[in-house]
């Protein structure tokens, strides 16, 4: 690989940011000043290229320090990692949180997605933009869902520097958001994660039991509340025993696809190719979803323990935790938890003295919904554009770095703890025969007590909404987020199970339950959903790349129309939607029309 670089040089700050991640360069081949030795030995080659997966962390390092990624900085990072600058440019421009153009050091991300839109995000945004215009030193960016729906409307300020500073303002007012952006250090502390759990402290909870009860920064506190008993049990059972328990428990994936976890683990464990990898998908970006954030902020050690068990069962010694870039507090909590666990021998070469080696590395996303798709996530970790791969081959056979990989959502993994502590039969007794165990629901919108609710599978939508204190004049409920579907207020007896929602012609998805009253114009919501998919389509396949644009255009045309005036565009939407569902490469394009279709068919949105 004969790389070509321009003449741009990095600034001292940019060089320092990259060197802090990668260490100082060893030779001029990697960007240092030329020495005599460099003329004799060429360095780089395969060894350097094998570090391609550090490209994304490198881009983060530059962006964190400087606020944007200049040509000189990108070139320097490419030299260090032997990455072609064109490819690195393609990666940097893929992510919404990066900029390759100069911008102010502070970026204020104002959520304009569904829950926040219903809570007045557009007025908020206009107010903020009026206060923070050009020359204010803050760049205001309208953002997709920030995962703070229980405190809508939300804003997240990120100020570049060493260290990078962040501040969350939610529920945000113009004043609070401007304060967070102009002085992130003096912004008021975020409320505890337990505030997002109205049931906090209820001893009957299985997954949220410790949220708000334990100190999320204390390993001792975690252990005092039953932490690491599941891992001990796992070592007693052995890897095959753990997989048997998980299979018998009937656990299925909680990220939205509902694939049986035990089968995935078994398929990975039995692959002869090595090494095996474990990937935790914490790129929680489905609009309306914030359950994984609450777990990671409120009970981070539970995820560390659960990942250790999953890796042990599937024969992995390395785990990657891919965390969405908009979750600064979850990042801090998890970094701390992993360091603590490592210091106490719960991660590392000899976990719990059992001779089993396992460690976790956190990788931050950078603003791309598509990276929650399992194979796009692999590409993102590997330092490529986060575009989905075609399947087959499936990840259990060829996943991260082309090796057998088990990838699970945060909530799925955390379910493994009660499975091992209470035993598969007791766990399987919770819920219904086909949907076993407890489930987390992210309730937001027009309810008195928005937040994460833990209920056994089988509770009805009405029961959940009652618990959350649904407000009067309910117009629609969105299940499963932007990729899910709307149901009517007279369908509240739908049982919240995989089979129950399927029978009702809708989906449980990732557990989003968003209630809308009749003050929110439905066509506006649908337009927002369409904008979301247009913005988040990776662009790889035609049905999704152009189809999401055509869908948005049609919804824009009919935003004020009904009946016959909308009929032509609805017919067009149906045809494009059908092709997106049938012919897109991945779940993003395949589901981009779901919510709109359900609003037309179930809610009569344009009648």
């Amino acid at each position: 690989m004969d790389l070509h670089f321009g003449d741009s040089k990095p600034t001292d700050d940019e060089r320092a940011a990259v060197d802090a991640l990668l260490g100082p360069p060893e030779s001029s081949w990697e960007g240092a000043d030329r020495s005599d030795a460099d003329l004799r030995w060429a360095r780089g080659g395969r060894e350097a290229r094998d570090r391609r997966d550090l490209l994304l962390p490198g881009l983060h390092a530059i962006n964190d320090q400087v606020g944007w990624i200049s040509e000189g900085a990108l070139d320097y990072l490419c030299r260090r990692l032997t990455v072609p600058p064109a490819e690195a440019y393609g990666v940097a421009t893929f992510y919404a949180m990066f900029s390759v153009k100069p911008r102010p050091a502070t970026v204020l991300h104002v959520c304009t997605d569904l829950a926040c839109a219903a809570a007045g995000a557009s007025e908020l945004c206009a107010g903020i933009e009026a206060r923070l215009g050009l020359g204010s030193g803050v760049s205001v960016e309208r953002s997709p869902c920030l995962g703070l729906c229980e405190r809508a409307p939300a804003a997240l300020a990120i100020r570049a520097g060493d260290p990078v500073r962040t501040a969350v303002s939610a529920p945000a007012t113009v004043h609070d958001a401007v304060l967070a952006a102009s002085a992130p250090d003096s912004a008021p502390e975020e409320p505890s994660a337990a505030m997002a759990v109205p049931q906090a402290g209820d001893p009957s909870l299985a997954l949220l039991r410790r949220v708000g009860v334990v100190d999320p920064s204390s390993l001792d506190d975690y252990r005092a509340h039953g932490g690491y008993t599941a891992l001990r049990r796992a070592f007693e059972l052995g890897p095959a025993g753990v997989i048997r328990e998980v299979t018998d428990s009937g656990l299925v994936g909680r990220g939205g696809a509902a694939f049986p976890t035990g089968r995935k683990w078994q398929a990975t464990a039995s692959q002869p190719d090595h090494p095996h990898y474990l990937v935790c998908n914490a790129d929680e970006s489905e609009p309306g979803t914030f359950k994984d954030r609450v777990i990671m902020e409120g009970d981070p050690f539970a995820l560390v323990e659960a990942m250790t068990i999953a890796a042990y069962a599937t024969g992995a010694h390395k785990g990657y935790l891919y965390l969405r870039g908009e979750y600064p507090r979850a990042l801090r909590r998890l970094e701390h938890a992993i360091a603590q666990a490592r210091a106490r021998g719960l991660l590392g070469d000899d976990v719990l003295g059992q001779g089993y080696a396992f460690d976790i590395e956190i990788r931050r996303g950078a603003g791309a919904y598509i990276c929650g798709e399992e194979t796009a996530l692999f590409n993102s970790i590997e330092g490529y554009r986060g575009e989905p791969r075609s399947k087959p081959p499936f990840p259990v056979e060829k996943g991260l770095f082309g090796k057998p990989t088990v990838e699970n959502n945060v909530e799925t993994l955390v379910n493994v703890l009660p499975i091992l502590t209470m035993g598969a039969p007791a766990y399987a007794a919770i819920g219904t025969a086909k949907s076993t165990g407890p489930k987390l629901f992210c309730v937001s919108g027009s309810v008195e007590r928005p937040g994460i609710y833990e209920l056994p599978f089988g509770a009805t939508l009405g029961e959940l909404l009652e618990l959350a204190g649904v407000r009067e004049r309910l117009r629609a409920v969105l299940l499963g987020g932007a990729a899910g579907g709307f149901v009517r207020p007279d369908e509240l007896d739908i049982p919240l199970t995989f089979e129950g929602t399927r029978e009702a012609g809708t989906t449980l998805g990732s557990g989003v339950v968003m209630a809308f009253d009749d003050t929110v114009p439905l066509p506006r919501l649908l337009l927002r959903i369409a904008e979301f998919f247009r913005d988040e389509s990776c662009g790889q396949c035609v049905p999704c790349r152009v189809g999401t644009v055509r869908q948005e255009e049609a919804l824009h045309r009919i935003v004020q129309r009904t009946g016959a005036a909308a009929a032509d565009d609805i017919a067009l939407l149906r045809e494009v939607g059908r092709a997106m569902r049938d012919a897109s490469i991945c779940g993003l394009g395949q589901t981009a029309w779901n919510a709109v279709e359900s609003a037309i068919d179930r809610l009569g949105a344009y009648e």
Binding site: T93, G539, Q540, S584
Partner: protein, 286 residues
Amino acid sequence: MTVIPLGIPRRLLEFTIDGEPVRTTEGSTILDACRAAGKDIPTLCEGDTLRPKNACRVCVVEVEGSRTLVPACSRKAEPGMEVKTDTERARHSRRIVLELLASSVDLSTTPKVAEWIKEYEAKPDRFGPDAARLNEEPKIDNDLYVRDYDKCILCYKCVDACGDQWQNSFAISVAGRGFDARIAVEQDAPLTESACVYCGNCIEVCPTGALSFKSEFDMRAAGTWDESAQTETTTVCAYCGVGCNLTLHVQDNEIVKVTSPHDNPVTHGNLCIKGRFGYQHVQNRD
């Protein structure tokens, strides 16, 4: 003596296409088998010298038991598979894909696409006059070839040919995301500031004419480009000892374009700057 490599013997597997039993070698794609069976399936991003990218989705077919349609170009045939190539469902997706592309991209120089649009009764103008288009101007930044990204369907073939599949120059990549994604060199700079070595192997694989010889681009602009008046002569490049085959495209006794046969075991359609663009001496008649 020419040695023809026979390769490892491969087993045959049986499956059905449109209800008719077919046999194909293990490892072949559905598309290979369809073509062998004489079924025509439209393709755009598929390239005979490249690994399937399956980005355009115009080759989708129905496979029994599959929730979604599958791309014929990349899905390997499996024993017992029941493939249906011409169902209403598959035709619907192909039609929409053609409409989506034709409504956003200039397909005027894409071979065969006009036929397919007719065959599938696609109506690209149904999205209205305000439908978003790429709206790119041709990038003319060197004397050898032009990048007219208004004609780009983002099939990734040029990126793959420039990257690890052939040239290993990695001068171009996809930049941006979604509808705003474009093929670009770093910083969207002119080609002359990039790692491009002007091998022109990207032009060779471009299915839409977005990448073309400067000579072809100029002649098209002047209205003098006439493929029916061109002859193609395959010869051997005289520059070095590798022995690449060149196909000279000649119009009015002038070389207007140089390609290489894709089945040539030396080039697989690839050339270097000398073979591709260094033909002026042939025409030096002084």
